[in-house]
Symmetry: C2
Subunit: 273 residues, 2 copies
């Protein structure tokens, strides 16, 4: 677990505002898709979102409130570049478009609005935190039947609700749900950028249906950041109550260790036909 998340998603401005473009709203950022944050050689979608999201956040000096990524190509480990364009810069909210490219090819296209989430203002959340056994009583995701543990699982500390992990050994629950705890490795604490990784780190809930377990490519992933996580593992729950003609929705909710709702996610993905 030596490759810390903050380092594995770090970005460096390639230059200041681009004089050739004559437009100081555009910046370019150098980064790298690190080895080991992948599932079978393809970088995890939440990890890619975190790299690009960090560059976008730095371009306006504020964390994400809502960030959408559209996945264009698989991403092997290697150098990447993020091109950010500030579409609107406001007092509270700033909107940024971006492209993460590898080898000159657009790999992930993004659009987000950034701003500090301030305490105060009305709260009327009726959604209850998912019930989970304590972190220590939840289970490290068991290896799939082919025996290869996704490399990603060596970088983060996931603990699944025991029954939700049964699909690995032929005992799906029949409910399209996967819940559990998410922590970074090495005691690194989650921040708003880590929510982007957590949103796509668990196994797809559809693995708990009668459908075959296989690659479920994400078309689009949107994360809403609703609060700054307190230190400690995130309490997470993901569900897919909609699977229509090969299109699947997955909805996630993330609470911090203090019980505050800090983020939600929704993705549209393709089921194998």
């Amino acid at each position: 677990m030596s490759d810390r998340f903050a380092l594995a998603t770090s970005v460096v401005a390639i230059d200041g505002p681009d004089p050739d473009v004559g437009d100081d709203s555009r910046r370019r950022w150098s980064a790298a898709v690190h080895d080991g944050w992948d599932i079978g050689g393809n970088a995890n979608g939440g990890y890619l979102l975190a790299i690009a999201g960090r560059a976008m956040a730095e371009s306006v000096g504020a964390p994400p409130l809502t960030l959408t990524g559209h996945y264009l190509r698989p991403a092997p480990a290697g150098p990447c570049e993020v091109a950010t364009t500030v579409v609107r810069s406001g007092r509270r909210l700033s909107t940024v478009a971006a492209t993460l490219s590898m080898g000159g090819e657009a790999t992930l296209q993004l659009l987000g609005t950034f701003g500090e989430q301030r305490p105060g203002g009305p709260s009327r959340t009726t959604l209850e935190p998912v019930e989970l056994a304590p972190f220590e009583e939840c289970v490290v995701p068991p290896p799939p039947t082919d025996g290869l543990v996704p490399e990603l699982m060596n970088r983060i500390d996931l603990r699944m609700r025991p029954e939700d992990a049964g699909f690995r050994v032929g005992r799906p629950t029949g409910r399209p749900e996967v819940s559990g705890w998410f922590a970074l490795g090495d005691g690194e604490e989650p921040d708003e950028i880590a929510l982007l990784l957590a949103a796509d780190a668990f196994a797809p809930p559809v693995f708990n249906t009668d459908l075959p377990v296989g690659w479920v490519p994400t078309v689009e992933l949107t994360v809403h950041v609703l609060g700054v996580p307190a230190p400690g593992p995130l309490r997470c729950s993901f569900r897919s109550s909609i699977i229509e003609d090969g299109l699947m929705e997955e909805d996630g909710v993330m609470w911090d260790s203090a019980g505050s709702l800090v983020g939600t996610s929704r993705q549209l993905a393709l089921m194998p036909r």
Copy 2:
């Protein structure tokens, strides 16, 4: 209801591929924010999404599967332009970024993936259609207490579940939910683009809480198109189970008259502080 939806969201290519840009992935489209599709002089968010979504769909010759819009400025009636960039053009899916501008200022920034939703492929939806009385037994949204019916309501035919409309006369249900039927005017039938309008046509479900009724500006709206609607009104349900420190999520589900789930929506909006 003489201004039909298809006309009110029509777009015309300004030119072919832009020779100045030297890039045939970029196009410009001329359109207009029509008078009468507004709430108090500001064009409805779903209507704006539909104008831009139509230009984006035409740029790749396929309907939207997932479309996200970030709202930058209020939009009065008047001419507008949509600049589309095809980020990736694939066999099944194409991804398009776009900006809708008015008076030279970016008003709505968008990112979407487009493609035909084909029947077949696995379906395992567990979500049940919302229960509603027949169209004729649901109610036209009553005017707000200030007496001004939003102009938009003269263009479409909304029928709310009677109890969900009670907030207009001081009887909110206490449940953050608004459900009802959505139809276009003049017997025009809904298509994939109309789902973009339906996703933001109902009153915010938070009006059924104890929070004050007021303008709830959308930061971001994402619509997933999961099927082609059959003719007839759409059965719609919108809920806000998350309101955190002044940020509000609103989730919508849309079924067609044949009972098929054809779309979902989620928006992030600001509650008045």
